[in-house]
């Protein structure tokens, strides 16, 4: 291939009429460019991605052996799961995504070394009402308190509001998950419901909160202030 051959993209930007074309579209959108340049699945340190059926089961299996993590993530009883069981779960999950069309599931990885650190989902989507529930978990203790949850939630909300066009999202949190409660408050979530003593753990009953965030209340932190 010779040096004079340009890729189509390069040709587009090199042509003199490229600029007027861009202005034309900008005008159509009320002077604002449609922001499709922002990568939805990338933040400063993280990337949202699909399941890696080879590598992920072993790592997620380790998380399930941490009962504290399991009790923060789920109201179902904590139980250790083997990598083989996790593998089966992934297959079931992908089938569910394909068939039910009301669920989006992501693995959270570090950009630097492509390491699996957590998972996230938007589920129970009611398309006619434009509502859904969020799930988010950072698997191992050494990856917590590093701002990864913040970055992941930022991507998740942008996906929910700017791509799925949802009107509101909810999150269910037990009263003892102080980390999640603080994170949701930081993003402007409102504690809307307190389901009194809905959970039983360690011989006592706990409240279960439902938090909600409306599209109007969402502040897209992935963009600079001027862009907003």
């Amino acid at each position: 291939m010779t040096a004079t051959v340009h890729s189509p993209v390069a040709v587009f930007f090199a042509t003199p009429w490229a600029k007027p074309v861009a202005f034309y579209f900008a005008e159509k959108l009320g002077g604002k460019m449609l922001d499709i340049q922002t990568q939805l699945f990338e933040s400063q340190d993280l990337r949202l991605g699909p399941i890696d059926h080879e590598k992920d089961p072993e790592i997620e299996s380790k998380w399930t052996h941490d009962s504290e993590f399991m009790r923060l993530m789920d109201t179902n009883p904590a139980r250790p799961l083997s990598a083989a069981m996790i593998k089966k779960q992934y297959e079931k999950l992908e089938k569910q995504v394909e068939e039910n069309k009301n669920l989006f599931h992501f693995m959270i990885r570090t950009k630097a070394d492509d390491r699996l650190i957590g998972k996230a989902a938007i589920h129970w989507i009611e398309w006619t009402n434009g509502n859904a529930f969020l799930r988010l978990g950072i698997g191992s203790a050494e990856d917590r308190r590093k701002g990864y949850g913040t970055q992941a939630l930022q991507m998740l909300l942008r996906f929910a509001f700017a791509e799925l066009n949802l009107f509101r999202v909810s999150a269910i949190v037990p009263e003892y998950n102080k980390g999640a409660i603080a994170l949701l408050h930081r993003f402007g979530f409102v504690q809307e419901v307190c389901r009194r003593r809905a959970l039983e753990r360690d011989g006592r009953r706990w409240d279960l909160y439902i938090f909600g965030l409306l599209r109007d209340e969402w502040q897209d932190k992935s963009r600079t202030r001027e862009e907003r």
Binding site: T75, N76, P77, E126, T128, N129, G130, N131, F167, R168, S170, V190, Q191, E192, V193, C194, R195, R196, R197, A198, L199, E200, R205, I210, G212, L214
Partner: protein, 189 residues
């Protein structure tokens, strides 16, 4: 011991697939009934399809976390609605959903009687710690009924549902076992 399936106005029973499907297919045509009770779009199913679902359920048996009842009046023995329970055995919490398909039985105390009978079943037979339910804010009749039965309003998910172009809240209610016990004339009978 109390009769768990007999209230003051209604009784809990289970219809045969044939009559159950006939009634449900007829109630489905009333979109107001569905929109008062459900979140999803109204849907029409054939009587055959509904009967097949019921029959399939009968063959497999209900899953251990599901309880469902048909509701008949004591006076005329008329099939007027149904009531379903979803049970979380680990955390001892049950969720209830109910519907009176026959509109002429609205606002006459039948709903309240159904809820009271259901509370008795949930707390004294299923031994739950909590009974929960959700409703639309545009259903004040249901709200009054649940309040009368001792449910507490525990919050609202704002602008949760879009109906006829309007955003409306969903209300969340719950009653605890001890709250129900206190309402039973000062103790368990």
């Amino acid at each position: 011991m109390k009769d768990l399936f007999r209230g003051e106005l209604v009784r809990f029973t289970l219809e045969e697939p044939e009559t159950g499907a006939k009634a449900q297919a007829r109630w489905q045509r009333d979109t107001e009934v569905h929109r008062l009770a459900g979140n999803d779009p109204v849907l029409l199913n054939s009587e055959k399809k509904i009967r097949e679902w019921i029959e399939k359920q009968g063959e497999k048996g209900l899953p251990p976390d599901r309880y469902s009842f048909s509701v008949r009046t004591l006076a005329e023995d008329k099939h007027i609605g149904f009531l379903g329970l979803w049970v979380d055995l680990i955390h001892a919490e049950a969720w209830v959903g109910l519907r009176i398909g026959e509109r002429e039985y609205w606002s006459k105390g039948y709903g309240t009687d159904m809820v009271k009978l259901c509370q008795q079943y949930v707390f004294s037979e299923l031994c739950m710690e909590r009974l929960s339910l959700g409703l639309h804010e545009y259903n004040p009749r249901a709200l009054r009924c649940y309040e009368k039965c001792g449910f507490h309003l525990e919050g609202r998910t704002r602008k949760d549902v879009l109906r006829e172009g309007k955003r409306t809240d969903s209300l969340w209610m719950g009653i605890l076992r001890e709250e129900w016990l206190q309402m039973q004339d000062g103790g368990f009978k």
